[in-house]
């Protein structure tokens, strides 16, 4: 009997499987898991590998000197990068529009009049319709008093715009019920002496006049050409409960596309240029036209260009290969929307701008695993063998899943790349890596929800959502209601939360549970489902998913609460049996490679023994 340990160094985790190997087979004792140190396939991996080995030893209750052999996978470095370019922007010039949604605007209806400062109200003539602009620090009682006095004097006060959160308070104290928009942070920049319109919709409704081009035309007496010019204003205001529009001589709202450079794609003996601002579909279509992709370059000075250069540089640093020899073999582009603050806005208005997120991946055949093996040998004082081509060992590990059979494909959805491999009936293994995986999903969730908090985005990605309905119950995203005997803390009250093993964590968004859930599922679908299909199509016989037979999901993402179901649903129309790997019937989707290494070493690997990597 010999004590053997298989170590699988992956992009994000290093797994180990310890076993006794003897005449009558393999007796697996324990397994362990730790974070990979450094880029996979580089000497920096040694530290993580040693940790994984030590943990497995202690879990098995064996001393380090009992170890006979360490088996390492032939890991090759994969470097991935992410970048995002916002391709549209909304600019308000000369403060023509306030389109924000305060929680509590006051009154309702539409008021059209000249803008006048509260302090100047006393000098306004009778019967002139005015929109009163109230600056910071004004008390609601004083404001109401001044407005009532003006009304008594015959001034036609039709609406108000305020700095503080006072609109309801003021309206409750007025002799005439007028629409009031509050929480306008830059109220001092509202131009005075200009014609303005203030609209507040009843609760549960959205504004109808200012969000409509002809409504604006009627309100401000515009001709056809002017109406055309203000139509972006109407579009920007649609869906709001309240809005203010000021007509200024040169005011404008522009909605423009930002030129964000081009990608140069080369492959099949030609090269194509595609503008990033064309969107994800145009980019993916161009990639399809030059398939198989040989290399990608981005325009310098753009986020995407910078990202592609960084990926190349990192690989150069890691492997010592010159940058000219490193080719970016895959890119995934995804359309997304980013909430961004409107330039020139007066109340921190936010508009949803279009953006393109890009994931790129580069891999090299130049592995430095021998250096890792040497370091491990001297650290642990035992023999270290490198064996098994990536993909091949994983497929063999996956094949120990009860119910699986050849031909078998695996999908390993990691952090930076999605890997697929196929073992066909002849024993041949083919493998591909495509760009885009968990990190891109986190990035999409982060930017689409406007969280700017990677941890929070990660939590949304990993855990189901719930809405805290009271201090004693939550409604889960599937509709289940759960009661608690101890009151929930005030910081989660009425919030959308993630249900984590550590408890409920608030998601810092204003949107509904449903909107957060849609963002999460769409991000996963656009990355994991799209990539699973893309990668499988590359390894499938004749590119046909129908010929795949069975697909086993491996890796950390296979433990996700919804990704396996989403991928299985997407594969169902092709008649593919798809499920979560359960290595050796006990290990779940983890440990396929580590256990596979031990099996190959012991000569008990399942499936055809002669295997050729393609």
């Amino acid at each position: 009997m010999a004590l053997v340990i298989g170590v699988d160094i992956g992009n994000s985790t290093t797994e180990a499987c310890i076993a006794e190997v003897g005449e009558d087979g393999v007796d697996r004792l324990a397994s362990s898991l730790t974070a990979t140190t450094g880029v996979k396939g580089t000497p920096a991996n040694t530290k993580g590998a040693v940790t994984a080995v030590r943990r497995a030893l202690s879990a098995a209750g064996r001393p380090a000197d009992a170890l006979a052999t360490v088996l390492l996978n032939e890991a090759t470095p994969v470097i991935s990068g992410l970048a995002m370019e916002t391709i549209t922007e909304t600019i308000i010039t000369e403060s023509t529009m306030i389109g924000h949604n305060p929680d509590t605007p006051g009154g309702e209806g539409l008021g059209v009049g000249m803008t006048v400062a509260l302090e100047d109200l006393a000098t306004v003539e009778e019967d002139v319709p005015v929109v009163v602009v109230v600056g910071a620090g004004a008390d609601f009682d004083d404001v109401a008093h001044l407005l009532n006095r003006a009304l008594e004097r015959g001034v036609d006060v039709v609406a108000a715009v305020m700095h503080g959160d006072d609109a309801v308070l003021v309206v409750n104290r007025l002799a005439r019920r007028i629409p009031v928009v509050d929480e306008v942070s830059a109220v001092d920049r509202v131009p005075l002496g200009m014609l303005a319109a203030v609209e507040v919709a009843p609760p549960g409704r959205t504004i109808r006049t200012l969000s409509d081009s002809y409504g604006l035309a009627s309100t401000f007496d515009l001709d056809a050409e002017q109406t055309r010019q203000v139509s972006p204003v109407a579009r920007a205001l649609s869906g709001n409960r309240s809005a203010v529009v000021v007509r200024t001589p040169a005011g404008d709202v522009t909605d423009r596309r930002i030129p964000v450079g081009t990608l140069t794609l080369s492959g099949s003996g030609r090269s194509l240029e595609v503008g990033v601002d064309g969107g994800a579909d145009a980019i993916m279509e161009a990639i399809g036209r030059v398939a198989p992709l040989a290399d990608v370059h981005g325009q310098s000075g753009t986020h995407v260009g910078g990202m592609l250069a960084t990926v190349r540089d990192t690989m150069t640093d890691v492997t010592g290969q010159p940058a000219s020899e490193i080719q970016i073999r895959d890119v995934l582009a995804v359309d997304t929307v980013v909430p961004s603050t409107v330039r020139g806005g007066l109340a921190g208005e936010v508009s949803r701008e279009n953006a393109v997120a890009l994931a790129a991946m580069v891999r090299t055949s130049r592995s430095r695993m021998q250096a890792v093996a040497d370091a491990l040998s001297s650290e642990l004082g035992c023999e270290t063998l490198i064996g098994g081509v990536e993909g091949e060992v994983a497929v063999r590990g996956a094949l120990t899943t009860p119910g699986s059979s050849v031909p078998i494909a695996i999908i390993d959805m990691g952090g930076g790349s999605t890997d697929a491999a196929l073992l066909d009936r002849d024993g041949a293994v083919s493998a591909v890596h495509v760009a885009g995986a968990g990190e891109l999903v986190t990035k999409l969730i982060d930017s689409e929800l406007g969280l700017e908090d990677r941890e929070a985005a990660e939590s949304v990605k990993r855990h189901p959502l719930a809405k805290v309905e009271s201090f004693f119950h939550v409604g889960h995203e599937d509709g289940t209601v759960q009661f608690f005997t101890d009151p929930l803390p005030p910081n989660v009250f009425a919030k959308v939360v993630t249900v984590t093993p550590e408890g409920l964590a608030p998601v810092p968004v204003r949107g509904s549970l449903e909107s957060v859930r849609t963002v999460r599922r769409e991000a996963k679908r656009r990355v994991f489902v799209v990539n699973a299909l893309r990668a499988l199509a590359q390894v499938a016989p004749q590119g046909s998913l129908r010929l795949l037979g069975s697909v086993v999901l491996l890796g950390g993402s296979a433990l996700d609460f919804e990704i396996p179901g989403m991928v299985a649903d997407a594969l169902a129309p092709y008649g593919v049996v798809c499920g979560i790997g359960n290595v050796h019937g006990t290990e779940g989707p983890r440990n396929a490679v580590a256990a596979g290494l031990v099996d190959v070493h012991a000569g008990t690997a399942a499936g055809p023994v002669t295997a050729a990597a393609s």
């Binding site: 509590t104 609601f140 959160d165 006072d166 609109a167 309801v168 308070l169 409750n172 104290r173 309905e469 009271s470 201090f471 004693f472 009151p487 005030p490 910081n491 009250f493 009425a494 919030k495 608030p506």
Partner: protein, 136 residues
């Protein structure tokens, strides 16, 4: 404003049903009760009631002893909306829910008008089922 008790001195403004003697009066619409000591600073009560009014939730004022926490407990247990605010003689404020043993929110004496307004708004937001703005 539309309260059957609008004739009563309305120290809390139009969103407030004013000072009431008994909370179980069927003529009184459901309200966030604010229990106040006679000598409590009136400015504190004004801001707390204004905060709730801006959220569209009515308030009513009850007499209470000197301690903010006891006053809040009393107000919450009397309120048909199960939310009460206690204002102590020193101007300290406590927001309580009838079913929750610990205070939900609180401010020490001498808090700014803006903070008091937010606290009053949050008391109303508990009733409305909206996220609180004064806690992370």
């Amino acid at each position: 404003m539309t309260s059957p008790l609008s004739g009563v001195s309305a120290s809390g403004g139009p969103g407030c049903h004013g000072r009431i003697d008994r909370a179980d009066d069927p003529a009184l619409p459901p309200a966030v009760l604010v229990a106040v000591h006679d000598d409590a600073p009136p400015g504190v009560v004004r801001e707390v009631c204004a905060g709730a009014e801006e959220q569209g939730v009515p308030t009513a004022i009850l007499d209470a002893g000197p301690g903010a926490d006891d006053a809040g407990r009393h107000a919450a247990s009397e309120s048909r909306l199960e939310v009460g605010v206690g204002v102590g003689v020193d101007g300290a404020v406590v927001v309580r829910h009838a079913l929750v043993p610990d205070a939900i929110l609180g401010l020490d004496a001498g808090a700014s008008a803006a903070d008091l307004r937010l606290l009053g708004a949050d008391a109303a937001r508990i009733v409305a089922g909206l996220p609180l703005r004064t806690v992370g």
